[in-house]
Amino acid sequence: MTYFLGALISLAQGYCLLRLLLGPGRPKLAWMILTGFLFGLALSAQLTFTSFLFFNRLIAPYIISLNILALIALAFCALRTSSPKDPLLPWKEITLQDGAALAILGLLIIPVFLHAQLFPYGGWDAWSCWNLKARMLFMGGDSWRNMFDPVLWRSNTAYPLMLPLINTWLWSFGSSPEPNVPLFISCLITFLSAGILFFSLKELTNRFLAILAPAWLLSIFFNIQLASSQYSDLLVGTFFLLGIVSFFLYLQRPDSGFLKIALIALGFLSFTKSEGLVLSIITLSGLSLALLIHKEHRKRLTPFAWSLMMTTILAFMVSGIFQIFFAPNSHTLINGLTSSQKPTSLERLAAVFVFFSKEIITPKWNGLWLLAAGGLLLSWRRSLTAGRWIIPVILMTYLAVIFGVYWINTFFEIVWWLSMTMNRILFAIIPTILFWIFLAIL
């Protein structure tokens, strides 16, 4: 149970950080707490990584002390911004509707929790990749870099370490890699993702009907399975959602703090998976384009250019350090454009498109993709105005890159590879697609 003390420290850290970033026009307390919790876990994970950077091993007292110091510093600064009229924790902001929404979300998480209990060690990639890396970090001593050994090529040695570090952070409060911790984290992140989706839509549309968005997400059994599998795709989806959501909150109430939150979320996204890194770069480019093409935004953001640039550098720093100094070259990459032994072909590309077309109509999605497409078509004007056009641009660019990788990398047999991975690529972008749809129809 002491493991969860780490979660509380992260929650407090993340909340205080958000308080510092946002001015008086900040979202309501529920949004702040849920987003703060997510931020705090990611921040704690990156602070945990410094133990490996500086000391080449896990030193639990150092990590715990560092996180507590960070919390004290953030809390001190956040307290200085508060006043009797603007308390640090404005509990009165929690309305009956917010309470009802949290209760509904709590009920929706129950199936995720029950499914997780049936598979306490998660899914395949949890055993062979994410939890393996976490155990290497926690128990490897100064041999933690063994996780990058080519012998472990099945474990995606080039993948970044956000999720394993979150688990390692909580394990630091105990002496063994308890399987309850990754299980708890997967349920928690699912809850935070659903909560951020609802409360963001509520902030932007002021409609309680936004509760249908997370309800739809969590009513699909396949989503429940993937959410409880202890995979990093959940983090990819949640940070991507937060980046997009923060951008639209900035458009609604121009506080550069929201852009900083978006940048930090994208920085965290880049440290989740290789796909997360690609998505973060595409999203950063897309959101920058969406802002800079408007003279009004350029003018408004010029005074903040320096702080936004520094935020971007800091946000992506840990990911950059990992990619440059630690990540090995991928052991599962053959460039089919240049390989004579395993060349690629147009048939391979056609197979990707055919598989994608069949995948989105399979019964396991409960008609989500068709209904989503129908909803966007019916409200096509509202789905593209007020800056919303950037969402499909980002998504289509991302999918184009992913399809390109499937086409060019001939290491794996294509149908097998698609059947193992395409559904997770789609799972990660669902929260943002739901956000887009509900923004258009509410």
């Binding site: 062979s128 490897g140 063994n146 050994d149 012998v151 739809w216 509410l442």
Partner: protein, 142 residues
């Protein structure tokens, strides 16, 4: 931030109704699938293949990599899962699949005669044997 709410357009109402229906159907199907899965789990409890290896990895203290020798088809879903869970249980020690060039070896053969033949051919000494036929062995390295 207070926002005045305009009535929802009819298109939005249609879409939201369809989504609400999808949610109800989804929740019913999810409940159904979860019930079936729970019943299956009651009949066949989850066994983490790595658990026995968590108990014995102290035998390999100081080793970074050990060999994992098997005559089973690792591409088979069940065998592959077993190997992945075994690796998780053995972490941070790495299992080098079907590589005999290590001091310590785990032999997990479907046919124990294969394991015996390997040990005789490569002068490998068995150290321990589990009641499921898994053998921990040591090899003299040059």
């Amino acid at each position: 931030m207070d926002q005045t709410r305009t009535p929802l357009p009819w298109k939005s109402k249609i879409i939201l109704s369809a989504i609400a229906l999808a949610i109800l159907v989804g929740l019913f199907l999810a409940y159904h699938d979860l019930t079936i899965l729970s019943a299956k789990r009651r009949n066949q409890p989850f066994v983490f293949a790595g658990k026995p290896f968590e108990m014995i990895k102290f035998l390999f203290k100081g080793e970074r990599v050990i060999g994992y020798i098997s005559d089973r088809n690792i591409d088979d879903k069940n065998i592959g899962a077993q190997f992945a869970q075994t690796q998780l249980g053995m972490a941070p020690i790495i299992l080098d699949l079907n590589n005999l060039n290590h001091r310590f070896l785990i032999l997990d053969c479907q046919d124990e005669r294969n394991a015996t033949n390997i040990m005789m051919k490569f002068n490998i000494r068995p150290i321990k044997r589990s009641n499921t036929g898994i053998i921990i062995a040591e090899r003299d390295m040059p």
